[in-house]
């Protein structure tokens, strides 16, 4: 295993005695000087030496694992590690095992996820060259395992909104052309947390990649999905935003007046909300419907109501009202 390191300092290891560690050159006026923990400087000293020698060997590969163990955000170490893996033609399945813990332990680390992205593409590339008729099957399996891995990471950390993780998932779907299988996954996540905006965004991206340009049927399906979600939880901003992704002006949208049930729903939400305060998203949608109808007065009344009840955005609503006559 390349990732396993031993406890003896490098200076005491026979296989490293030909290497002189290179100190860090902070200069005479260093700032933000980190009091490095024990072992940190030694490992980095050897890493600088290896880079200077431009050495891509097994020991160099194992050294990068030690550097990453000390600082997983060290992009130079990850970069150099990829160089070693390429030049040594290393076993990349082992490398996948090595990266497993990093993405679950440091989910917000750009380097780990980028490394993983490179790794999966590289493994697929090699399988494509080697495996002949079986290649496709192996590659599809690899991609699906990777989607499972993303789900595991979210579950282990109880974080279903991790940006780098979602980036990885979308890369896999795109790279291996798996968008068409993805909708059930989105629906499962949204059924667990209807307020998860990352899942809503993913839904849109799935539709965008699978069903574009939109047919009337798909658009109606998505509008209905948003409306059902609003019904179940009207104060959820995501569902309203999703609704307006298909209504108004723009590519593949229809006017706010095109689906009369939307107005019915808005009125219902406004009525129910009136007993407890207000729902700014419903008022905003209603204003858009009135603007689409050309009913400037009704829209202006809604904006002035919003100005009253949604104080933190009062100036925005006043400005929106001022545009009614102007545009």
């Amino acid at each position: 295993m390349y990732g396993i390191s031993e406890d003896r300092p490098y200076s005491k290891r026979e296989e490293w005695k030909d290497v002189t560690p290179v100190p860090q050159k902070d200069g005479p006026h260093p700032l933000a000087v980190i009091k490095y923990p024990p072992g940190f400087e030694e490992v980095h000293g050897y890493f600088r030496a290896i880079q200077q020698r431009n050495e891509t060997s097994l020991r160099a590969l194992s050294l990068t694992a030690d550097v990453i163990e000390n600082n997983s955000a060290n992009y130079t170490a990850w970069y150099y590690r990829r160089r070693c893996l390429k030049e040594l033609d290393s076993d990349l399945d082992e490398e996948r095992v090595f990266t497993n813990k990093w993405a679950t332990d440091c989910p917000k680390n750009y380097q780990v996820w980028y490394h993983r992205r490179w790794l999966i593409s590289e493994i697929a590339e090699r399988k494509r060259k080697e495996a002949g008729a079986e290649a496709d099957k192996h590659i599809q399996l690899l991609a699906r395992q990777e989607l499972e891995y993303h789900l595991d990471c979210m579950q282990v950390n109880s974080d279903y909104k991790n940006y780098n993780g979602w980036s990885h998932r979308q890369f896999i779907l795109q790279h291996f052309n798996l968008w068409h299988e993805e909708l059930p996954f989105v629906e499962r996540l949204l059924s667990e947390d209807i307020r998860n905006n990352s899942a809503w965004n993913h839904r849109y991206t799935v539709v965008r990649n699978q069903s574009w340009p939109l047919s009337d049927e798909i658009r109606k399906r998505e509008i209905k999905f948003a409306m059902d979600a609003i019904r179940a939880c009207a104060n959820n901003e995501c569902a309203w935003n999703y609704l307006s992704a298909f209504l108004g002006e723009g590519n593949c949208k229809v006017p706010w007046t095109a689906e009369p049930e939307v107005e019915v729903l808005c009125r219902e939400v406004i009525d129910v909300a009136a007993q407890h305060g207000t729902c700014r998203m419903a008022l905003q949608a209603m204003a858009s419907i009135n603007e689409a109808k050309g009913d400037v007065q009704a829209a202006a009344a809604l904006y002035s109501q919003l100005e009253e009840v949604d104080r933190i955005r009062a100036k925005y609503w006043a400005w929106r009202a001022s545009l009614l006559g102007a545009v």
Binding site: Q24, K25, D26, Y75, Q170, T205, I312
Partner: protein
């Protein structure tokens, strides 16, 4: 099915409620124990804590060893916002240390002898601009830098963060802002950039880190600021952008969230807060007959400042993401930067919550260094002869958007200085406005 307003509790709503409770408890405590004018920024605490960090950091910072120019920028910029950056004392050291992070092939790395990377490159150049001396400006090998920036361009119009590294929206901002600060923003560097950024504007209106991902405050700032600097903000749908951004200010907490249904976080005070003056500028760049408001305050500056002052100041110095977290330099820098952005409107009028001494220095919305430092840097690079690269002279400047905004800000400042009265220094909306929080 009848309409449910709240629906079933989920992970998102539970996290939101506990954060709201924690913030509102601090607000209540403050209102019961303080007179409005006593709500104050603990300048002494923060500056002492910042200066200590600029010199040395404890072992648990080892995981940030590839971000050292960032520490220099976060801390020196926070100090200059507080009006406490001691130029003779620090600038020599900043120039000396940052020079050691420069790579011979161009660009700056996260520390000495590391690989050059766009993020620490932006941080290093900004730190040199904060340093503000000719010696600091001269640290940058501009010729090599231009080569580095061009080398990072990726075929899709974005920028890689480093050789063989990832491409995302941070790269666009770091490359464009760096080129602008060094007067090297050329057409070839900008080629494909507006299209790339436009593709990353999402169905929600904000900008994502990569095409297909979720609209996000940090990436939204990066994409919008890059385009505004270049004078190319008309590549975006500005109305949907604004609609998205205004909804990211939290009704109860007053601060900003980075994405829909995420928690308030003080760093978005800058990333989201600066979007408003940028959009004001972007609408101006787009032209047309649409009436623009007098100022950029489509959001509410006062509740934002309330959140920062009452919920984010750590008793041991520094500012934090939200109650319950510890203070760190990143959040301190961007909480203060956001506070500064929210204190000045386009005309230079101020809006200050609490003690009038809470007013910070004005920051440039494009680079996030003081306006005065941006101007000083501009004068220096304007005085240089054109840069010769491979036998041709580089046709690159600061970008028309960056120049126009700073000119307007400095002009409004001069007007204010002429009719300075004691009250205009405090500002027309100065003082306490707790009512907005409810």
């Amino acid at each position: 099915m009848a309409v449910q307003l709240e629906g079933e509790a989920t992970l998102t709503s539970e996290d939101q409620h506990s954060t709201e409770d924690a913030v509102l408890a601090l607000f209540k405590h403050a209102f019961l124990n303080n007179a409005a004018q006593d709500i104050s920024l603990q300048r002494e605490l923060h500056r002492a804590w910042l200066k200590k960090g600029l010199v040395s950091l404890p072992p648990n910072f080892a995981g940030l060893d590839a971000s050292r120019p960032w520490f220099v920028f976060w801390i020196t910029h926070a100090l200059e916002l507080l009006g406490d950056y001691d130029e003779p004392h620090w600038s020599y050291q900043v120039a000396g240390f940052i020079a050691h992070c420069q790579d011979p092939t161009g660009g700056f790395a996260g520390g000495p002898q590391q690989l050059p990377h766009l993020a620490p490159t932006y941080a290093a150049v900004s730190a040199l601009v904060v340093a503000g001396t000719e010696a600091a400006y001269k640290v940058v090998d501009r010729k090599a830098m231009y080569g580095f920036l061009m080398r990072m361009k990726s075929p899709d119009g974005g920028f890689k963060m480093h050789d063989e590294g990832e491409t995302d929206m941070r790269g666009c901002y770091c490359a464009i802002a760096t080129a602008s600060m060094l007067h090297m923003l050329s057409d070839e560097l900008l080629e494909g950039v507006p299209e790339y950024i436009s593709r990353c504007q999402t169905w929600e209106g904000g900008i994502a880190g990569e095409e297909g991902l979720e609209a996000h405050g940090g990436y939204s700032y990066c994409g919008l600021a890059a385009l505004c600097i270049a004078g190319k903000a008309d590549a975006l749908d500005l109305h949907s952008f604004l609609k998205w951004a205004v909804h990211k200010q939290m009704s109860h907490e007053g601060g900003f969230q980075g994405r829909a249904n995420k928690l308030v976080d003080s760093c978005y005070s800058f990333w989201q807060g600066a979007i408003f003056p940028l959009l004001h500028e972007a609408f101006r760049q787009k032209g047309g007959s649409m009436p623009l408001p007098d100022d950029h305050c489509w959001f509410s500056p006062q509740p934002l400042q309330m959140y920062l002052l009452l919920a984010c100041q750590h008793p041991n110095g520094g500012l934090r993401d939200k109650p319950g977290k510890s203070a760190d330099f990143y959040h301190t820098c961007y909480a203060l930067s956001g506070m500064a952005v929210s204190q000045y409107d386009v005309q230079g009028n101020t809006s200050i919550v609490g003690d009038i001494h809470n007013l910070l220095e004005r920051t440039d919305i494009y680079y996030n260094v003081l306006v005065e430092k941006a101007e000083r840097r501009s004068a220096y690079f304007n005085s240089l002869p054109p840069l010769e690269i491979d036998g041709r002279s580089l046709q690159g400047g600061e970008g028309p958007g960056a120049v126009a905004w700073r000119k307007r800000v400095l002009a409004s400042r001069r007007v204010q200085e002429v009719d300075a009265s004691p009250s205009s220094a405090i500002g027309r909306k100065g003082g306490y406005a707790g009512g907005d929080v409810e």
